[in-house]
Symmetry: D2
Subunit: 142 residues, 4 copies
C-alpha cells in the first residue's frame, strides 16, 4: 500500500490543533516526503535566565520538525526517543529546525534534526525515532 | 574547594529569571545535593493535537529538574546532552520530574530524570549530561 | 496472552548462539521478569590504548544485559536505540551490567542499564528501547 | 594556539595500542580535520545469535570512527555520550563507519557517525559528544 504525501497546507491544518506548538509560536515552513522545516521567532518568553533560547524551546522546535516529517507520509506517528546535543547558545531573532528521515520501515522511522540560528549556525542536533501507527491521518474537519 | 548547597529558596530565586520556565508554569518543589523535583499543573495550552501533554512540555519539565539538580551544588552548569524516552501519554492534572545525579566530576555530571503523572506512573525517562562552569552562582539581586 | 518467563538456563542456552558475546567473554549471571545481570572478566584484549576498558566492551556488556532483560519474558526483541553516558574509566578485574525494565507495552519496552566495576562504582549508564517481535523465542535445539 | 592535524599514518600508529579495536579487526581508512572513516571485515565472530552483525560491533566501529575524528586535530579526547539508533540488520562482508564533527569548542565536540554496509545502506546512526583533554597526543614511541 502506498503512503500518501501530505501537502504543507494539509500538515498545517493537522498541526493547528497542537496547542503547545501554537503557544510557543512554532510555524511549519516546508514539508516534503520524509522531511520538514519549522521556525520560531524568538520572543522574551522563550529565554532562560541567562538570556539564551531555553533548551525546552530548542527541543520543542526539533520535536515539531520531527513530527511534521514523520507525518508527511500520511500516517500518524509518535516520537518514542529523542537524543539532543546542545552545542551553542541561541541568541538571534529567529531559529529554524530541519528534520530529515534517515530510515523508515513499517513500524519505526529514524530522523536527524538540526536546529540553526538566523545566521545558519547549528545550535543543537537531535536524533530521534518515531513509532508509526496503523491509522492514516484524520484531517481536522475545520 | 567545597561546593555550596543551595536552599530551595535560593534556587527558586535564581530560576525566577527563567522566562520560559515561568511561561510554561514549572515549579521547583524540592532540592537537595545533586537532586531536585519540579512539577507543572497541566493546562489546555500544554497539550498536543491528540489531547496529550506535549513532548516539548515533558522535555522542559525534565530539563528544569536536571538544571535545578545540577545547580544545587552552587555552581553554574549547562545541559550538553539529553536523551529522552517517551513511554506513556500524559493525561493527568499534574506532572512531576525528579532528577538524580549519578556521577559528577570537576567538569561533567550525569543525571537521570523520571517524569511521572499524578498517579506516579512513568511518562518519560531522561538521561542527561551537564557541563559545570567555573563560576559559582550569582544570586539574582532581586 | 501471557508471556512466559525464561529461566537463567533457558536464556543462557538461547544466547549461547551469540558468537560476539562469547568472543568478548560476556556471562549471563541472573535473570528475572524484565531484568538481567551480566558480567565480564577484564582481559588485556578488552582495553583501549590508555589501558582502560574499551567503550565498545562497556556497550557490548550493557547491550547484552538489555537483550537478556528484553528476552526474559519469552519474546524475541531487538534494541532499536541505546544512549550511553560514560562516566568513569574502568580499570578493575571484572565489570557488571544490570538492566531493569522501566516500561513495556505490546511493541516497545524501555530499559536502564548500569555498568559497574568490581567495587560497585558506576562506569556508564545506558537508556535503551527494544522493539518486541511477534515471535516467541525458539530455543536452540542444541 | 593551533591544533595540529594528524596524518592517517600518525593516527594509525596512535590507535595501534588499542587492543580491543585490533581484537575486533577495526581498520582506520581515512582521516581529515574533524572526520574519519573506519571499516571492519565481518567474520563469524562478529555475529549475534540471529546471524546479524552484533550491536556491540556496530557500536565499536562507530566509537572508533568518532575517536579517530576527535583525535584528528592532535588533542586527546574521550567520548562522554553516544546515542545509537539501530535501523537495519547488517549481513554483508564489510561495514564502514564515517564520523563527522558538527561542532567543536575548547572542551566539547559533537559528532555524527553513520555506519553503512557494503552496499552503502545505513545500518545505524550515532550522535556523540567528546570531551577534549588538555594534553596533546603523545605518539607511541614504537
Amino acid at each position: 500500500m502506498h503512503d500518501i504525501h501530505l501537502s504543507l497546507e494539509q500538515l498545517r491544518r493537522y498541526f493547528s490543533r497542537d496547542a503547545f506548538a501554537e503557544f510557543c509560536g512554532v510555524e511549519i515552513e516546508e514539508v516534503g516526503p520524509g522531511r520538514a522545516r519549522v521556525s520560531l521567532k524568538v520572543e522574551p518568553r522563550h529565554l532562560n535566565g541567562l538570556g539564551m533560547v531555553h533548551g525546552g524551546v530548542l527541543f520543542t522546535l526539533a520535536d515539531m520538525a520531527l513530527a511534521a516529517a514523520a507525518h508527511s507520509r500520511g500516517r500518524s506517528a509518535v516520537a518514542v526517543t529523542a537524543s539532543m546535543s546542545f552545542m551553542k547558545a541561541g541568541m538571534t531573532d529567529v531559529i529554524h529546525a530541519e528534520a530529515r528521515e534517515v530510515s523508515r520501515n513499517r513500524r519505526l522511522a529514524t530522523y536527524t534534526v538540526q536546529v540553526t540560528d538566523g545566521s545558519g549556525e547549528a545550535l543543537c542536533l537531535c536524533q530521534g525515532t518515531a513509532y508509526i501507527r496503523a491509522e492514516t491521518l484524520q484531517e481536522s474537519p475545520g
